[in-house]
Amino acid sequence: MLKIERIWQTKQKSPSQHARMLGVLGELIFYNVLFLLGIIALGFLLFSFQQRIQHYFLLLAIISFVVIGGRGIVGILSSSKVAGRRLLQIRRVQRTGKTLLGEIQDHLPYVPSHDVYSDSHGTHFQYRLDRVRSDFWSMLAIACFSFTWAGVSVFLLLMCFDSLSDGFWSHWILWACLLSSVAICAWSAWYFFVQLKVITSVGPTILEIDTHPLQPGMSFNCMVRQTGMLSVKSLRLYLICEELASYHQGTDVRTEVVEVFNEQVGIEKNFQISLNEAFSMITPIQIPIQAMHSFRSSSNAIQWKLVVLARFKTQPTIRRQFPIIVHPIGAPSQIDVDQGVSGAV
């Protein structure tokens, strides 16, 4: 009877690990050489007595050597750390002879913990959701980018003036670089001011829910609160499920995100928000009965979230995301588990 099963099975020889290891070793040697060359060349250049304007160009190239080499080394070392963790996992199970289930502290393995819920309780419903990323950090990032490019543009401008003595057309590449740099600088400055406008004129968006944790088929109420002095064209609330997949491409780690579920669960159009009174909207939401639970592993994830998309008459459009955790049907909540443990003690 057992042999009948074989026709359904796949059989393969495990690929040799040697070729993969040689590849990683080669990559590691390459990045180390690049990094060391960069450091040595940087030292020579910095202590060179004949510092000319061409040296600064060379400096940029050498710094890129150091950065690319260092980044490659860090990338390879972090990849080997993940592989080591897997090996450790196997050895631990082999040593104890137990399943991993007994050792994992989480009552739901590979389901993210509830850290997306704010420590502070909501004012209307019990649970206040935390945002994925605040506007402040994106503004800070674009500010750094903008100031860096401004510095590069000023530096190029000085070089251009310095080279004018040789004639305008003798250094036309330098002028072309200056124009490109100024264009990038102008775009980043414009984007910086857009972000600044969002922060200063659009108030925070607050989401609160009355049920936690969520499960497929479960209904819950959600309250959206928007503050600020705003003239709103539309405010929409979406329930979204995404698949996230991270993969290595050379030494880069790329992440692809695909929406597999998107439902508009609330909408309000053409209204005003004053400074004295915030806008509030309560809407019932249902998690689809066929929904997959939230999932997170090293390189892959399934992520549920509520997204607020607001369009204003004068301010830029905002899209604010609030992750939620969906447990599988019938799973005990962490609260139940905690109470069970404390009760037994």
Binding site: M1, L2, K3, E5, R6, W8, Q9, T10, K11, Q12, K13, S14, R86, Q89, I90, V93, Q94, G97, T99, L100, L101, I104, H107, L108, P109, Y110, V111, P216, C241, E243, L244, A245, S246, Y247, H248, E256, V258, V260, F261, P288, I289, Q290, A291, M292, H293, F295, S297, S298, S299, N300, I302, P328, I329, G330, A331
Partner: protein
């Protein structure tokens, strides 16, 4: 002419559909090879991700039998493992991510050859209708 060894895996549920926290019983057997040629047999119950991202896996159960420690025991004989499945992750088929549970048998021979056979099964709520993308 040299034939590959036969590795047979049999799960206790014919449809290979399990609920979370179900008990999984699996029999496996090795054939078409001499007992003296086998160095090690490893059986594991694990989930493996596939799709666009790098492969992730989570080992739930593992047992390794070595020819040295098995004394006179024949590693080819039918062996049974039992384990209680975890509540998560459930099997999933999405657009760029799939999660698949399987019983994996690894056979390593003394001459260095290695053979791997997977027997896939599903962990999920069977009462739910199937819908692509968000189906558990």
């Amino acid at each position: 002419m040299q034939f590959d060894p036969l590795i047979s895996i049999h799960l206790d549920k014919p449809g290979k559909d399990y609920l979370p926290s179900d008990n999984l019983v699996c029999d496996y057997q090795i054939d078409a090879i001499e007992a003296e040629e086998i160095l090690m047999v490893e059986v594991s119950v694990l989930w493996v991700s596939s799709g666009k991202g790098d492969e992730d896996s989570g080992i739930h159960f593992i047992r390794r039998r070595l020819a040295d420690t098995a004394m006179d025991a024949d590693l080819r004989e039918m062996e049974r493992i039992e384990t209680t499945l975890p509540p998560t992750p459930l099997s999933y088929t999405g657009e760029i991510l799939s999660i698949q549970w399987c019983v994996r048998i690894r056979l390593i021979l003394k001459n260095g050859d290695e053979y791997v056979v997977d027997q896939e099964f599903r962990v999920g709520e069977m009462a739910l209708p199937k819908m692509e993308g968000i189906t558990a």
